[in-house]
Amino acid sequence: MAIEYGLNEEQEMLKTMARDFLANECPMTHVRELMEDETGFDPELWKKMAEVGWLGLVFPEEYGGSGMNFRDLSILLEEMGRAVLPGPFVSTLLLVGMPVLAYGTEEQKNEILPKIASGEAVCTLAALEEDGDWWADSINIRADYRGGHYVINGTKLFVPDAKVADYMLIAARTKRTENPEEGITLFLLDTKEVYGTMSTLLKTMDETRKQYEVVFLNVPISAENILGEVHQGWPIMKQIALHTTAALCAEMVGAGEKVLEMTVDYLKERIAFGVPIGSFQALQHRASDLVIGLEYSRSLMEWAAETIKENDLDAATAVAMAKSFCGDTCKKVVAEGIQMHGGIGFTWDHDMHLYFKRVWTDDNAFGDSNYQREVVAKTLDEIHQLAGGGRWAKTAGRLTQMG
């Protein structure tokens, strides 16, 4: 696999365009307006995003897309992270669009993907339940087969953008066996065609992203609306998690870099004791630590995006490594950003808390930094056993010395 480090010319253009677009179309004043809105959704902005080709960025042209790759998408997500962009971009494209492209029938793809690309359809995924953790065992809402169709009953929690979603992908249990990863089925629901769902806005910390409780009461759905195979939903969900996790890394790095820039600007401007506070070594060294953390976050994030783009065997490990490191680093960056701003950084009117809340929410989604590190540890264990452990024992120590 050829990992492409740095950006090529087209990617540089995409990045510049995205930064300009978001500065013009969704400045912080507008972010705050959308925070006040119950849906956090701006149809005008959504339409403009469709017009510049973002909503179908990674779809092939036959489905109305731009045929670009995952690395290109991650560049866009970095910029969205910098702008703390509200709205259902991640829900629509990553949680539903990409899995439909990968696992959908030709009918499903033809029905949904062009609508996503053109901005007609907003989508979301209803996966998490009461415990809020991304794991197969917690998927308990039932889809029972009754006379030719399925009936869904139960409650989903932390469903992003449910109120504005035209399509909702639902992870439901169609079978319970010893293995919780078996018997999960994904249903693709056209929200306009069914009755029996009720979405209630949750009052959550990051108000730039709206999340809902969704109650399903005897919601009928046909077997034609299954994505993939019946009982075989979990592998698709793992793929969704992989891609979205990599996407969130990009978003966190974008947010982290923006926070560092804002903080460094403040250190240069803010005068205390008659001098800019950025001349104090205590603050200089803390700022330098953030530079170091973000350099390695970016390195892992870009690598993870490249492994997905190339469908590389290392993708799962790369993404776990990236999420763990980016999560730890960016959580530190946003906390330090507030601290170095002092009192002003703790106010509602300052934007620091928007980044703080977004990063902590992103870190938690699909497994936080500690969970991801455990994923890496399990992989190390597997490789160690495969490599027939023990061969380094006699030379251990020699390799630890600094090169």
Binding site: Q281, Q284, R298, E302, S324, E374, G389, K394, G397
Partner: protein, 406 residues
């Protein structure tokens, strides 16, 4: 320069493997092999001999012009050679300062004669080097160097003292910045020289460090004479030449190796030895690997090693696009040095009471090398510029923050 085809690279790999089998010291890698004592003349000579063999085989000197004894190789070839060396491990290069810091300094500031005279003999291992930089009152504040140099005809007469001189015990040549113009302002008052360590008036006294070894020395210059032709760069330019040396030293970890396609299963992201150690160490009835706290720490180092690998590549690409200033090396330097220290701390905590055994005690694991590393890494965050100095470089030169007020 086109990369070689896969067959040619595979042939090279086989060649290196066969060469290693032929040339590694007798018994290398076997349980009975005992390496010469660290810092001994024997270890030094082994390192020199190894460098000579590498040079003759064309396995060192990459990217250095052939007229100075270097060799041109594609990135893919270099990666193959380094991978194979990593697989078996090799004797430590006793004379590493020459290739690491002197060659880059000479390539940047040396004149053609100096390059022709010194570089080939560094590559061939014939001449080893020491670095006389720090003084008792010029460590982090390196610009405060007090050694004086007075011109006398075609020579300079040097007086003064260095401490923490690396590689001095058996060195043939040295590099030293000297104050040649006491009236010039800081950063303009130094000149940089290479000098012959057998010169009369040069004295080396070993300096015992907390590991118990004397890896460094104090060196004394008593009316030592250096020919003018051994000045590197212009008179008064010594600070900047010295900075080039330090930049090379701080970037010493930066090796431009093409990343291999997969995470190398043989090195497990560089933490295989820790996984191994944790699995083989039982504490209070369970293996350390079964303790989630240690497992998380080991996994963290695997993550950090991968992060460093990809960061190095990002830097390489930036360097090709001429987007680097040189200050970025501080990032990798701080991170890798502090990581060494954290790794060593973890090992000490894994081993518990047994970390106390030093080389010479029959209970010492791996001949006490873990304990040595644990102690030695205390110096990592001080040598070549404390990590505080490097953080200041990031703050002032990369972030553009105002000069610090302490």
């Amino acid at each position: 320069m086109a990369d070689e085809g896969p067959e040619k690279l595979e042939a090279l790999r086989q060649e290196v493997r066969a060469w290693l089998k032929e040339n590694l010291p007798e018994g290398w890698g076997s349980p009975g092999y005992v390496a010469p004592e660290r810092g001994s003349k024997e270890a030094h000579d082994l390192g020199k001999a190894w460098q000579k063999k590498l040079c003759e085989a064309g396995y060192t000197g990459f990217g250095i012009p052939t007229e100075y004894g270097g060799i041109e190789r594609s990135r893919a070839e270099i990666a193959v050679i380094r991978e194979e060396m990593l697989r078996t491990g090799t004797p430590p290069p006793a004379a590493s300062l020459g290739p690491m810091i002197v060659i880059p300094t000479l390539l940047r500031y040396g004149n053609d004669e100096q390059k022709k005279r010194f570089i080939p003999k560094i590559l061939s291992g014939e001449e080893s080097w020491c670095e006389c930089f720090s003084e008792p009152d010029a460590g982090s504040d390196l610009a405060n160097i007090q050694k004086t140099g007075v011109r006398d005809g075609d020579e300079w007469v040097v007086n003064g003292q260095s401490v923490w001189t690396s590689g001095s015990k058996f060195a043939d040549w040295g590099v030293v910045p000297v104050k040649t113009d006491p009236n010039a302002p800081r950063h303009r008052n130094l000149s940089y020289f290479v000098f012959d360590c057998t010169s009369p008036g040069f004295e080396v006294r070993p300096l015992k460090q907390m590991t118990g070894d004397a890896e460094f020395s104090e060196t004394f210059f008593d009316n030592m004479r250096i020919p003018h032709e051994n000045m590197v760069g212009e008179e008064g330019q010594g600070w900047y030449v010295a900075m080039a040396t330090l930049e090379a030293e701080r970037g010493g970890g930066i090796q431009f190796v093409a990343p291999s396609r997969r995470i190398e299963p043989t090195t497990l992201g560089g933490v295989d030895i820790y996984v191994e150690l944790a699995k083989n160490t039982k504490r209070r009835g369970m293996t350390v690997w079964d303790d989630p706290l240690f497992r998380q720490r080991i996994a963290q180092f695997a993550i950090e090693n991968e992060a460093m690998r990809h960061s190095r590549e990002r830097m390489r690409v930036k360097a090709m696009k001429r987007q680097l200033t040189g200050n970025e090396q501080s990032i990798g330097s701080i991170f890798s040095r502090e990581k060494n220290q954290r790794q060593a701390n973890m090992v000490a905590e894994i081993m518990g009471a047994n970390i106390q055994f030093m080389r010479g005690d029959p209970r010492a694991l791996d001949d006490g090398s873990w304990t040595y590393t644990f102690l030695r890494t205390r110096g990592n965050t001080i040598e070549t510029g404390t990590t505080e100095i490097l953080r200041g470089i990031i703050a002032e030169r990369m972030l553009g923050l105002p000069r610090s007020r302490g």
